[in-house]
Symmetry: C2
Subunit: 255 residues, 2 copies
């Protein structure tokens, strides 16, 4: 509907669509529409049938999983990124809910059109497979992070990753509310507070959303971060050495 040409350009710049032919791009965006949602809107519930590939153009979206009135944050997405690609490819139901954390602008692409285009355009199929591979590897990292590290260690590594992504400044800014960060890291808000307190002896000073790392090497020794778990890569639309591409998702390669 209300689609500015600049919106399409931003979509085309995504790794998923960067190398696509003009015809295929026309096909895959056929019937697409842009939609605006207020903060706190549930876009998708676990178990829902998924008919569209979502492309976040503006705002923030949280993906979460639920079980027995408990829920956990699986990822926090920022523009520009796609989500629920896997469910769309399989035409299956969603395994996670999606809700906006801020007013968001989302482009919705027909799942049918996407699957049809994959069949017609091998290059696009490859791009989808590469995207999914990056997402898969992000999740492998997440599982290792969860199963092998304790809460404080997860936080320490999170801080180091943020430090690198925010350009090695001495003080970094937490990109979301602490309660969401806690859920993302797999702990309670209370425990996150205590974990921050515990890192004080390692040169971590917290002032609201600002965190100053006075002695990074000391923190690093505790964290023992490794590329086999932590994705230190700079944010935004990256292309790695061997053609590895990932839609950016704030914490962990995802979507």
């Amino acid at each position: 509907m209300t689609m500015r040409p600049t919106d399409l350009d931003r979509v085309k710049a995504l790794p998923l669509f960067r190398k696509i032919s003009p015809e295929s791009f026309r096909d895959v965006t056929a019937g697409a529409f842009l939609q605006r949602f207020p903060a706190g809107t549930t876009l998708l519930m676990e178990g829902d049938q998924v008919d569209f590939l979502y492309v976040l153009l503006d705002g923030i979206v949280e993906l979460q999983g639920t079980w027995k009135e408990k829920d956990t944050t699986l990822a926090v997405l920022r523009p520009v990124s796609t989500f629920i690609l896997a469910a769309v490819v399989l035409d299956a139901d969603a395994l996670m809910s999606a809700r906006t954390l801020e007013r968001s602008e989302i482009l919705m692409l027909s799942g049918q059109a996407l699957r049809r285009t994959m069949r017609q355009d091998a290059e696009f199929g490859l791009a989808v497979a590469e995207e999914l591979s990056g997402c898969y590897r992000g999740l492998v990292r997440t599982v290792k992070n969860q199963k092998l590290r304790g809460g404080t260690e997860r936080l320490a590594n999170y801080l180091i990753t943020q430090r690198i992504r925010q350009g090695l400044k001495e003080t970094i800014v937490l990109p979301h509310e602490k309660r969401i960060l806690a859920s993302l890291l797999g702990m309670t808000p209370e425990n996150l507070s205590r974990a921050f307190a515990g890192l004080a002896s390692h040169g971590v000073v917290v002032h609201g959303p600002e965190v100053t790392l006075t002695r990074p090497e000391l923190l690093e020794r505790l964290a023992r971060s490794t590329p086999l778990i932590d994705n230190h890569m700079p944010p935004q639309s990256r292309v790695l050495g061997k053609g590895e591409v990932e839609s950016w998702s704030e914490e962990t390669g995802f979507a």
Copy 2:
């Protein structure tokens, strides 16, 4: 090298290759070779460059992740299944180690050939994307399982899944050593023992590797299993309703 035609047939029966054209199949298996490994062989270490797609034809393979002299089991694979597909697609290094638990027969397909075939054959590219989507969704389930449930709850759900997969018999057989099961479920062997003991009051009786569920509905009430986390699907070469396909991996859609 020593490749029986029947081996190729079993590969071709995999969801990944089922709908592939004969020419593409010839391309993707060009230069492939079969290799036999004794039990306990490390096939691949975390961080290694990955040059081949592995196809387990016989035996058992464990995938594990490591950090700071601790390690955790990410999956246990049985024939016929592929593994490290994502790393092959991206031509990246491995995020998990692979080692044989028993004497195994493994077919190794050239990663280059696979990527080339994806580019040439859109249908095959789609199959790869579908496979990766299934793996991705398996990992989403794994993360939710880890973050939302306690150890005993994970065990209860594991038992229920096994009960279904083994045909609703009253007594099931644990498919691996308890220490590996413990690692897979994200706990220590000691804690797994205690978790089994704790389930005694829910009708779970353990005799070595045999577990009898005397009151399944009681166990079910504790477990609260859900298709959004647990993959109850019957094992072996399955094709779901909407074309969802997954290589089988014993516990969780994987590879």
